[in-house]
Amino acid sequence: MEVNEKIAVDHGLKADEYKKICDLLKRVPNLTELGIFSAMWNEHCSYKSSRLHLKKLNTKGKKVIQGPGENAGVIDIGDDDAIVFKIESHNHPSFIEPYQGAATGVGGIMRDVFTMGARPIANLNSIHFGSTQHKKTKNLLRGVVKGIGGYGNCIGVPTIAGQTCFDQSYNGNILVNAMTLGLVNKNKIFYSKAAGINKPVIYVGSKTGRDGIHGASMASAIFDDKIEEKKPTVQVGDPFTEKLLLEACLELMSDKSIIAIQDMGAAGLTSSSIEMASKGNLGIELHLDRVPCREERMTPYEIMLSESQERMLIVLENGKEDSAKKIFDKWNLDFAVIGKTTNSKNIELYFEKEKVANVPIKFLSNEAPIYDRPWKKTKLPQKIKFSNNDFKKLKFNDVIKKMISNPNICSKQWIWEQYDHTVMGDTIQKPGGDAGVVRVHGTKKAVASSVDSSASYCYAHPFTGGKQVVCEAWRNLVSVGAEPIAITNCLNFGNPEKKENMGEFVECIDGINEASKYLNFPVVSGNVSFYNETKDKGIKPTPTIGGVGLIKDYKNLMSMSFKSKGNLVFVIGKTEGSLDQSVFAKIILDERKGPPPEINLFNEKNNGETILKLIKEKLALSVHDVSLGGIMIGALKMCIAGSKGIKFNRFKDLINIYQYFFSEDQGRYIIEVDKNNQKKVESILKKNSVHFDLLGETTDKEIIINDEPTFTVDKVTEFYKGWLYKYMS
């Protein structure tokens, strides 16, 4: 087939991009070459709209071993132990085929982690769906949850935490972001940079089929009515093979055979071979007829663009082929020497002795387009003036019931009970806490991790929202007693060719960056997902932040459950009463305007560090950060977790009681303290200039407000846990 502009455009390239390709090559590419260009130059692989802005991110820190640019980021957690972690999106495929889309998302991110030599020790996920009233939501939720579970459960890696949100802006574009943490000896990390000429290039794992061809291009396009037709571009996952691949790779990694290794993710063999060669400034020669294929008569074009799962490409030391093959034979996996590294600096493809492609690698990587897209700043919305009249008709008990059973606040137990969260025998904080925590196997250490997003805040004011998400991740780690170390980000946005969407992206990054710098909480890995848009309607800007922290002695793990009755409960951090953008304003007052709550980074850091001090000195019995739903929801969640009640002190503040209890002011925590330690705690708080209020006292079962009993904890638990089960039944 003769390649022309129309065919190029059908491959998702722009007309001027096609012209650039012809100019670079000084000829018209053949179809295989065009396919390779389209795969490498699409948004998903080239980061062409985001790269300029991603460069600004704070990626350095004392504990950072590897920042962005590798398969995943790596941080030092002491004693030669390192944690490899990354979050990645699988949004487009999951909307088209929720089970396989989500499953292969989990598979892909785990491969990124064990490619670096790390054994995966925990999975997390952040999933966003449309309105609970939307006709597709239930099936999408069910499919995604089954897919995530189906893959992670089979591999035997615990899913320890997550986040689920509902908002109508995701009606046509759900988000599935999967994160994996792995453990590796810091002296035995594997990278994707090839080195040396004439080194064998090895293909291992599953056979190549026709699934997923153009998956990466699909993920770089907006959706229309015909999206269902794209089902064949969704890959199919095989967790069993991945489990074998994991064990085989780790076995091979125990000696020094591997020079470079890269998993075949988006754009499969194309991007993995080009990335390894490009990083090593080498050429690569591949013989595509040696690639193990699942289907007959596959063409070079199809082999290069297939996104079949559970495959790896390895550059091996010479002479190690036989011993490596033995390992893959043992695990019943395909193993084929398909080429070698060269000094040509080109990718050269052969098929049945014929040369079918020859492209300088720099054209595919360095010369890929970079766009400085126009973007628009978002103005800070005006604050909403609430008056006492707005609250007059409300009944406190009704509000509590409505808030605690709101889809974005209620318990997600229906979801996480379908994930194996205890396999590997090291999960010490299960889902449902502020962060998931797993022990570092065989040591006293434990690693905490959480995943967060706040699309409403980011939509109202991207800069503030960006800061807020990072702070939220920080607080979640602090709440379990972990010292926050680093983050990974998954940046889910609309169409970057629209300046509003591009502006949201740019300003969210600026916000993330500011908070990340101030908190010394660097970004070590991440991914960008643009074009989350259907028929002109984009999603709210949704940067998802995965945080990782360390607990030096797992016996000091902190939890949110109230421990016993008769203890004091404090709110740490100042309550200003701002309701703008709060869940309360949205669902009780039907008010969606206004700015997100302000972020004060000094207070954020100071409050967090003081909480860690209280935990370390064993003065806090339970800790929970205040987030959606404010103090009231925060305190009720602690009641529910510990099956205790609370008597709130009589309210005599200047602001309205609803503003006090439901505002989402930032930088706050609720802690439980033994009465005998009241003075010690107060003096530490004062010494560190931390604002605090005495909120009340824990009780046996009753929840008492202004001396009036409201619900018992059992009743509130029913509201909290019941909603999602009812919705899904």
Binding site: G149, C154, G156, F240, K243, W416, T422, M424, G425, I428
Partner: protein, 227 residues
Amino acid sequence: MNSSVIIFPGSNCDRDMDVALKKFGFKNKMVWHDDDELPNSELIVLPGGFSYGDYLRCGSIAGKSKIIQSVIDFANSGGLVLGICNGFQILTETGLLKGVLQQNKNIEFICKNIFVKVNNSENKFFENIDKDVLELHIAHNEGNYFCTEDELKSLEDNNQIAAYYCNSDGKIDEKSNPNGAIKNIAGIFNEKKNILGMMPHPERMIDQSLSGEDGSIFFENLLKNLK
């Protein structure tokens, strides 16, 4: 005391079981599915996981694997065999235990703490156990035990039911049945009571920091009985 844990491709609780056995004093060895012979052991464990992907029926391919004939011989000669979760499924596939494990009634994977009531303590597994209601953990998609009426009758007549799902007080009722298993059956023995298959994972409950500690009671007691 020597034990062996069989690793099938796709096993994923093999390490957890190894950790648990060693913690309570077993000298444990890991055995690859493709091996011909079992090391000298007083206890053979088939661990949880998704052997061979469980793409056919759960446990069916493992039930035909190379090592399994040695396990069958070992069991038939009176050796102690424990199958947890996928291990239980494999034991039913080999015919060493009666019945089948179907998909959970709610057609969902379930991972949570449950309680079981030990039904028969006249065997090496539960003899002298000082607690008859244990809090254990399940994590499975196919744990819904089923057998024919005749099989059920013979299981009951021979006292082959090892444990029932129950509530924290030991009451065996429908509400505490997590997966729809017939008569709340969580685990069964063979006729001679030297083979135990059960869905709950004691190896995930061996530490106060984890989901609980009742798994420790099981292992400590087992070791005592074998000494």
